[in-house]
């Protein structure tokens, strides 16, 4: 499926699992302004791939290009190869089918204006699941895995948008899980979540890794350290370095800017 791994700033050790996502010479711009350029990286199946970096490093644009959310922004320009399961995402004839295989969790929780149950059942329903019993099972399973079931099981039919911020974010994660995604992309999910809930979600992510590939964009350097197998450092529209997370946090970096950022000297 995948023929060759392009020269990345840092090659992963081993190359044990097949590549879920492969990025070659990716460049993203808005109008004439380039916000991200020259990105080459490969993400393995069942890997948590961390992306750290200060604001305006191009992290969110990177995620948007993967599930083709760039389609809704006429200014956004994406060049290079984005291979999902070895096939470029722009070659998908049915972009909705592509998106349904990629779960996204946004920085701010989005409880859709419908009941908790309907929030989680939305994706299965879009795929044509009609049986109430089947939906019940999916809803319970996804809410349980998102560590929210116990708190909401008695009020599944109240509005999802009335939950607290942390609960809504777990609802968003449950909704993403209901897609049974192959790839889960989390964009700074803990911005509006309290530390205790953050830790609970992090535990969930460690387990989910068994079943899916996870891209974790985070502004919390330590969160990447806790979760990510490998971590990429984005800075000012470039991917400065990709390394095993352990190396990154023990001073074995190739670029001094990475060490400065990881150690909190800037950003």
């Amino acid at each position: 499926m995948v023929t060759e791994i392009p020269p990345a700033p840092s090659l992963p050790k081993g190359g044990e699992a097949p590549l879920k996502l492969e990025i070659r010479d990716l460049s993203i711009g808005y109008g004439g302004r380039t916000v991200l350029g020259g990105v080459n990286l490969g993400i393995h199946e069942h890997e948590i791939f961390g992306i750290i970096g200060p604001a305006n490093a191009g992290k969110t644009s990177f995620l948007k290009s993967i599930n083709r959310m760039d389609m809704f922004d006429p200014d956004m320009r994406v060049e290079g190869d984005i291979l999902f399961n070895g096939r470029d995402v722009r070659q998908w004839r049915n972009v909705y089918a592509l998106r349904s295989r990629i779960g996204v969790v946004f920085p701010l929780p989005v409880g859709l204006p419908m009941s908790i149950y309907d929030n989680v059942a939305l994706s299965p329903r879009l795929k044509g699941v009609r049986e109430k019993a089947e939906l019940d099972v999916i809803v319970e399973r996804c809410l349980t895995r998102a560590a929210l079931w116990d708190e909401v099981k008695d009020r599944l039919h109240s509005l999802g948008s009335l939950l607290s911020g942390g609960q809504q974010q777990r609802l968003t994660i449950a909704r993403a899980l209901s897609q049974e995604p192959e790839l889960l992309m989390l964009d700074e999910f803990s911005i509006a979540v309290d530390p205790v809930t953050t830790m609970r979600i992090e535990d969930v992510l460690k387990e989910l890794k068994q079943e899916m590939t996870i891209i974790l964009v985070t502004n919390l350097v330590q969160q990447a350290r806790r979760l990510a197998d490998r971590t990429a450092f984005f800075l000012e529209g470039a991917c400065v370095e990709i390394a095993d997370t352990e190396d990154l946090f023990t001073g074995r970096t190739r670029d001094s800017r990475t060490r400065d950022y990881v150690e909190g000297r800037f950003g």
Binding site: N67, L108, V110, L122, S123, K127, R175, A176
Partner: protein, 310 residues
């Protein structure tokens, strides 16, 4: 330096004068207050006036039951004039009902297209166009009903008269559609983009995003738009007068001519003697219309306000 002598001290006397700015401020405040209060005063004034003119009739001459349930409106019969507005209510209701059947799909479709699909220039042009359509005088619409729709309906459906419920309903529907589009579009635009993005990220198609997320989220605003359209339908006079055929009649099909409450007042008030039973009966219709449109608009307003808050 001025503060050196302390707040309220002798040194501040020099500054503490009512200058021109102070008087202008007061005058403008008073003017704005008058302007604001006048709207309320006028509405109450109008209500008091029409109530005063019509109440005597309602209380003394005719009982409520006959007024609202009799389909016979023969106010100028010299021996035994009859004042029943059931046929007029049926006329207004049937025309408004048909108008909504026409206007709801048009306005909802237009609003969805403008808010969700059109962008940039196209969107701006469409919005301007919709607002222009809303500004067409109703007598022009009545003219269209009389000269275009009338022969068209006679030809198409092979009926003797083209001035009927169908004609007026279509005309009124087209009249109400622009304002309904405008309000429905506002309601759709008020749905935050993050809802759309979240649904899109789940793999929902454009239509699924709109149908399952945007429309439910905007349902209050859309309902408000429809109610304002209904209010418009009840209150519209000129176009309805011209397109319904103006015949007192309980309609049994859309090809029957009818007469609307509003059109009756417009056509007959000028020919009645002030203070006569007929005159007062027309004012009673006015009270009824006033109450109905007031209720509809109030409900619509409350619903639309409801979404703004949440």
């Amino acid at each position: 330096m001025a503060g050196a002598s302390g707040i309220g001290g002798r040194g501040d006397h020099h500054f503490d004068r009512r200058n021109l700015d102070w008087y202008i401020d007061r005058a403008v405040q008073a003017l704005v207050f008058l302007g604001g209060i006048s709207a309320i005063v006028f509405i109450i004034g109008i209500f008091v006036f029409i109530t005063k003119e019509g109440m005597g009739f309602l209380l003394e001459t005719v009982d409520f039951q006959e007024f609202f349930t009799s389909p016979y409106w023969y106010p100028s019969d010299e021996d035994a004039p009859e004042y029943g507005i059931l046929a007029l209510i049926a006329g207004t209701a049937s025309v408004t009902g048909l108008a909504m059947v026409v206007a709801i799909p048009f306005s909802l479709g237009a609003a969805i297209f403008i808010a969700e699909f059109a962008d940039g220039r196209l969107r701006e042009w469409l919005k301007i166009l919709v607002e222009l359509l809303a500004a067409i005088p109703s007598v022009v619409w009545g003219f269209v009903g009389l000269t275009i729709m009338n022969p068209l309906i006679i030809d198409l459906f092979d009926v003797p008269v083209g001035l009927n419920v169908l004609n007026a309903g279509i005309i009124l529907g087209l009249m109400a559609a622009p304002i309904m589009t405008s309000i429905a579009e506002d309601a759709l635009k008020a749905v935050p983009d993050r809802y759309r993005e979240a649904a899109e990220a789940l793999g929902a198609t454009r239509w699924q995003v709109i149908f399952r997320t945007v429309l439910p989220a905007a349902k209050n605003g859309l309902l408000g738009a429809v109610l304002l359209g209904v209010g418009r339908g009840f209150g519209e006079t000129m176009a309805v007068l011209m397109a319904t055929g103006h015949a007192v009649n309980l309609p049994t099909s859309v090809f029957d001519s009818v007469r609307a409450l509003t059109a009756t007042i417009a056509a007959e008030l000028g020919e009645t003697a002030v203070g006569s039973d007929h005159y007062q009966a027309l004012f009673t219709i006015g009270i009824f219309l006033f109450l109905i449109t007031f209720l509809i608009n109030l409900t619509a307003d409350l619903i639309v306000r409801g979404i703004r808050k949440s």
